[in-house]
């Protein structure tokens, strides 16, 4: 799954370039002086405890929040995939994906042949053909997430910003989601930023990772270099062991939590 790419810090072909970005919420600094760059086809994982601005960072890059300082530049078309929301409307999965074409259609236009084709391609890419005619409200959390990603693909965006795409999913669906992300990056050169609560997910698919911490601190670098026991301790105050395991001939890196639990003695 993991691909190795060299990514020089300062590169002219960077698709996303963020320079000294800051964002304050009320009196507190949420993001402070954050800089990063990402090349075409790279995946960046955004890590950090709750409430440090992961969603805020994604929303700023998606153009949904305006009151930031600093600057950022994204060369390609962007699509933002929010966390699953409850929605009053109840469209079919295919119609939901078709809505991804909205940016290409005027106030008075309805989707045409080309839009329907693109939506169908996106449905296929996300592997949810079987769900096309199901109602969005009636499918599982994982399927909803895949539908929203298909919608982003249908929009023709080449940069995907995903807010916790693996949260609320069971293990099988987490695996499916991570495989989809790495496939999109490897085969179709999508540049992806996703936030996650699980450092193992970052280790599994991302080229680069960024930690966000309390008070606006942040740290960005190559995933394997930056996701360390020390950094997890620093940003989450959690005890973990980042370790490489040889499983079925593959070398995989995991972040394993060390629980301090006293178990009842077995009688």
């Amino acid at each position: 799954m993991l691909k190795v790419k060299t990514s020089p810090e300062d590169n002219n072909t960077a698709v996303i370039k963020v320079s000294s970005l800051s964002f304050s919420y009320g009196s507190g600094k949420l993001i402070s002086d954050l800089s990063l760059s990402l090349m075409k086809g790279e995946i960046l994982a955004v890590l950090g405890p709750n409430g440090v601005g992961k969603t805020t960072l994604l929303k700023i890059l998606a153009g949904l929040l305006k009151k930031y300082s600093g600057s950022f530049k994204i060369e390609k078309e962007v699509s933002y995939v929010p966390q699953i929301f409850s929605t009053g409307v109840n469209y079919t999965v295919y119609n939901m994906v078709l809505l991804g074409r909205a940016g290409h259609l005027g106030l008075f236009s309805s989707p045409g042949e080309l839009d329907r084709e693109k939506a169908y391609e996106a449905v296929k890419k996300a592997g949810i053909e079987g769900l096309s005619d199901r109602k969005f409200s009636e499918i599982s959390g994982g399927e909803k997430q895949l539908t929203l990603i298909a919608r982003a693909l249908a929009s023709g965006a080449e940069v995907l910003l995903l807010d916790e795409p693996t949260s609320d999913l069971d293990i099988k669906n987490q695996e499916r989601m991570l495989e989809l992300l790495s496939e999109l990056s490897l085969k179709s050169d999508f540049t992806i930023i996703f936030s996650t609560h699980d450092p193992s997910h970052a280790l599994a698919v991302s080229d680069r990772s960024i930690f966000l911490g309390k008070g606006g601190i942040s740290q960005c670098g190559a995933t394997e270099e930056i996701i360390t026991d020390e950094n997890i301790k620093k940003y989450y105050s959690a005890n973990v062991k980042v370790t490489k395991l040889e499983i079925e001939g593959k070398s995989l890196t995991y972040c394993l939590p060390i629980y301090n639990i006293i178990k009842r003695e077995k009688v």
């Binding site: 929010p82 929301f85 009053g88 409307v89 109840n90 909205a102 106030l107 929009s155």
Partner: protein, 335 residues
């Protein structure tokens, strides 16, 4: 159900109700005669009817039934549009205060300039003001936006109802007050041929523009942030939609008074048949709303010796229907 199938049922039904509307009333005129009177100019039937019958059909009933159809169309489409773009199944032009605001504006306009374009303009201005008030109250509050939106609408409604009461007090009780009171409760009895030239085209064009934007309303129904992140210019779309919906509703109010419930329940009833997709919901609501409003106006004319206000009938029908829908949704609408 496909849109074609729906139209296959609804359009003939609308035509039939339209004819009933022309023939029914205190002065009954048979269908055949109504048809002959209508098509006489085109087909040149021999005029074997009384001049008074022709006058009743063409001068009194035709404008009135047409206005009923157009009003029902406008209110229902606007209700469906509001429910879609505000992602709130409980809203309608009445609930969020637009009709009260427009009613206040129209009353003020009538007192100042008499019935006509002046009062329509005032209806629009105050209808829009009421909408902006409800929206800004909702925006300033966090929490359960669906409920806050309804509460804001309640408050704005009360405010403009109080304004209307005040205007009634200062209105000339001999001359102006009776007609204002009667009109405000909902009545199309003042509809005349003059409404063919301005008010009806205004409502029809506004409604058709909203229907033309039906797919964009699908996009907006995902929420503003989602629509924005799909690359849609949400600000422009909302201004366009709110402008033309208020235009349609205020024009309906300035002629027919405050008729609640239609904009709330028609979209729900139509949704049960065609689903939530606005591509089908808006056109189907337009025709269903026209049918319902024509039926209500016919009932108003024939149930009792005196004409019953439209607002009274819609409330009698709307309340049980709404309670049924609310209970059926098991309260899922407000959480």
């Amino acid at each position: 159900m496909t849109l074609k199938r729906i139209f296959f049922f609804l359009i003939p039904a609308a035509g039939a109700v339209f004819l009933i509307g022309l023939s029914a009333g205190r002065y009954y005129i048979p269908f055949i005669k109504v048809l002959k009177i209508l098509f006489q100019p085109m087909l040149g039937f021999e005029k074997n009817w009384l001049p008074v019958e022709e006058a009743v059909v063409l001068n009194l009933r035709l404008p009135r039934v047409a206005m009923a159809a157009v009003s029902g169309m406008g209110l229902s489409v606007c209700g469906a549009v509001y429910q879609g773009i505000f992602r709130n199944p409980l809203v309608s032009p009445g609930v969020i205060g637009v009709t009260s605001g427009a009613g206040f504006g129209a009353t003020l306009g009538i007192l100042l300039f008499g019935w006509g374009i002046g009062s329509q303009l005032f209806a629009f201005i105050f209808g829009f003001a009421a909408l902006l008030m409800t929206l800004s109250i909702t925006r300033k509050t966090g929490g359960n936006a669906i409920l806050v939106f309804i509460l804001a609408g309640v408050v704005v409604n009360m405010f403009f109802q109080a304004g209307i009461s005040f205007l009634k007090i200062i209105a000339d009780s001999e001359d102006q007050l009776p007609s204002i009171v009667y009109w405000l409760m909902g009545s199309l009895s003042q509809t005349g041929k003059e409404h063919f030239y301005f008010t009806m085209p205004l409502i029809i064009i506004s409604t058709l523009l909203l229907i033309a934007a039906r797919w964009r309303i699908n996009v907006l129904s995902l929420g503003i942030d989602a629509a924005k992140s799909l690359g849609v210019k949400t600000g422009e779309s909302l201004v366009f939609i709110l402008f033309f919906s208020t235009l349609a509703v205020s024009a309906v109010v300035s002629v027919g008074g405050i008729v609640g419930w239609v904009g709330l329940i028609v979209p729900h009833m139509v949704r049960m048949v065609v689903g939530t997709d606005h591509e089908k919901l808006l056109p189907a609501s337009a025709i269903a709303g026209a049918i319902l409003f024509m039926l209500i106006d016919i009932s108003a004319r024939i149930i009792a010796p005196v004409e019953i206000p439209l607002g009274v009938i819609t409330a009698f029908i709307g309340t049980p229907v709404f309670i049924y829908l609310l209970v059926k949704s098991k309260g899922s609408w407000v959480v």
